[in-house]
Symmetry: D2
Subunit: 245 residues, 4 copies
């Protein structure tokens, strides 16, 4: 079982100087020059230069109603706000694996807050998989239904919620599920979420499409739109951008 | 192969109402109330309330020299700066899985920048695994040695570098390697890095401890300090905090 | 980024001599003596000494009807055979992760074989997850429903079926799904199947409980019985053993 | 967060009838007919019809010396035996992911057996990664160096060794490591081993190339030969076949 000189012969099969023996190695042997990563500008409080800007304060050209037709939500003062009853909206483009940045704000409540009521909305990847948006600041609901939960699937690691009226951020790394040619599940969807900069979902596995009543399950699909939910609350959004991975 | 009534009997083995059939199910069946996530405050430009604050502008009580003794780097104007030649520093505490936030700034160069020279430093997890710090703004070096590279292991997805003199951020999710009782590798270390808010390492697998000359390899170990590198350059740091996962 | 003498200091944190530097290392440094694996006898055509013998040719004490009561299938000439209409059977014991060996034989058909008819049965792990048993020798059916399919989830890599009347083997490595305290899916079930010694499922991910009509989904559960299916065909079994992993 | 009618609209994006709602679904919706798995014959005690037969009792055309030139080991009575001192042998073909079947027999010892001495040989995948072959029947050595160990990396789950002079089998599922274009480790090698039909390595992660003295590490490489080791002992082999996965 000792690795004798025969194996160093074998090593010569592999790639160039990386396989030089320790005695011959120079630091340059482990330098890799290509590919050179593309430069991306990262301005403060704005989208990076390689992102698809979904909303930067004006214009809804990236969005449509899920019922078809123009995006029915309102834009004022650089902020996109749900028009309750107007239905969900989704991007015209479809995405698979992606990094998403989105900022959101729930309205201030005068009456006592109750459970799923205040500031309810949601961010859906591929139009199926929801990260919950909710006013979860001093507002108890079921743990797998509060802000930053993978709705009815995964409880956030901590509750990083800010108060209603304050802007909050989600930075999300989304890995789409993979399906075989025959439609079988090759790998489930995975998600990492930073809520206000705090890790709340750590490469969490999704068990399937978000469901309200039945257990989640997968049906094969390709890339899909990002969807934002109208749940009857005037939740606002700003500075939305996505980068395909 | 059809799943007959026998299987629904079997399902009764599982947990409570989750296994109710679709016709009987109510939305409450899929609500999970416990555990309730702990609330964490997330002030702007400061550490979250549950973090270990490693540096907030004053005081070096969390740090020591890797040679033993007090931290030899300088603090001025709320900024921690390498004192070239004073050696690396490390935290007194040890960490395993963790989320790290750190801000860094490389000095402005008057002479032409060359490769690994300008602004070279590094962030080491468990005192072994390095995320490169370098002035990689309009400064070509080997791709697996530029800023946000896992040094000599993994090229960043993009180059999100800002110019020297500007503050930059790393938000890092670190998953420590696991070893068997017998010292075998059960799972390699994994890392996700956002550089200035941009995903540059996506759950990247590490092949072992960072090495300069030889290929990286694993030797079993437990939690370890966070280490910052003195590579002879006056690199500055601020707003450093870590959360154990 | 170079790993200087500081890091070798760091290495001293890790376990003993494993971290000796290359120049000091001896071959004994990488020897691990404990734990010593337990010896298991592996007689030809019989269960290994550490297995739970589920059927060795006589006796049904390990089995019961899924309807409750004694196992209603027949034993003759050392072979266990389905009594059509008597319902499925399951082990009295429950299992999680396991290695299963089972031999099966489908009856010889006089009439033309059609799809799911001939020799239909199934092996269910944790009473939920089915590996199909079928006469798939020169008998076309849907690919995710033939012998060695994860029923309606995963097509076998090849069709390793022997003719009806011949004994066939399954050697299966079953990894149970894991659920969080809150019932979320931490990791899906995985299965590796050798059919007549040939790899037909290679660490395949299951999307959930086997379903006939709807997409598979997970509901949290613990260990469960092994179940064999009565699908109205006189399928026979022998030499059944299982090892908990 | 409730999934309203908008989502069922979204579901129409996905593949055909698989997304029909439960009320509309028929069993045929979840049948997948293509691709149809190829039939493979599985004769008893011989290679399956789709395997590369590496040794079936006569002929060494698949093998060569690792020093170049013809395979220097002996063939007699349908058995391939190490000629001590003649050096290791390897296949002329290269393989990546593969299923390997190999039978081996260690010689009977008259003197007391000691550690790594009796019946020492090894099976190397891609000429780098060793599954130990040793007479580990009533012969204590370091646990990560006994039969079925991933040499100096992973202890077998149990000791399934038969006595010297008896034939033993390895059925191995090998998953090659993956490397990025830049030479980084994308995923480590994994191995599953059945020793005499018993699971002894369960999707074990390898930390790198087998090493005798230093910790294992990865250097990027492509497919490579299967190698058998001459460790100075007259170990015999028979019925060797491999299937590319």
């Amino acid at each position: 079982m000792t690795i004798k000189d025969t194996l160093s012969t074998g090593a010569a099969i592999a790639l160039g100087s990386v396989n030089a023996t320790a005695t011959e190695r120079t630091p340059a042997d482990s330098e890799v020059w290509d590919p050179e990563p593309v430069h991306v500008a990262t301005p403060l409080n704005a989208a990076p230069s390689d992102a698809v800007v979904l909303f930067d304060g004006s214009g809804l050209s990236e969005w449509e109603s899920v019922q078809g037709g123009e995006c029915p939500w309102s834009v004022a003062d650089g902020v996109l706000t749900v028009v309750p009853g107007s239905k969900d909206i989704r991007t015209k483009r479809s995405f698979g694996d992606a990094q998403l940045h989105i900022e959101w704000r729930t309205p201030i409540y005068k009456e006592p807050k109750i459970g799923q009521g205040p500031g309810n909305s949601g961010v859906f990847f591929q139009e199926r998989y929801e990260v919950q948006v909710l006013d979860s600041y001093e507002n108890r609901t079921y743990a797998n239904g509060q802000a930053a939960a993978i709705y009815k699937q995964a409880i956030p690691l901590v509750n990083a919620s800010r108060a209603p009226g304050e802007w909050q951020t989600y930075d999300i790394i989304w890995t789409a599920p993979r399906f075989s040619q025959g439609g079988g599940l090759l790998s489930p969807a995975r998600i990492t979420v930073l809520h206000n900069g705090i890790l709340v979902q750590n490469n969490t596995i999704l068990a399937g499409k978000t469901e309200y009543l039945v257990p989640p399950s997968y049906s094969p699909h390709g890339p899909g739109p990002l969807m934002l939910q109208d749940h009857g609350e005037e939740v606002s959004f700003r500075n939305i951008w996505i980068r395909e991975l």
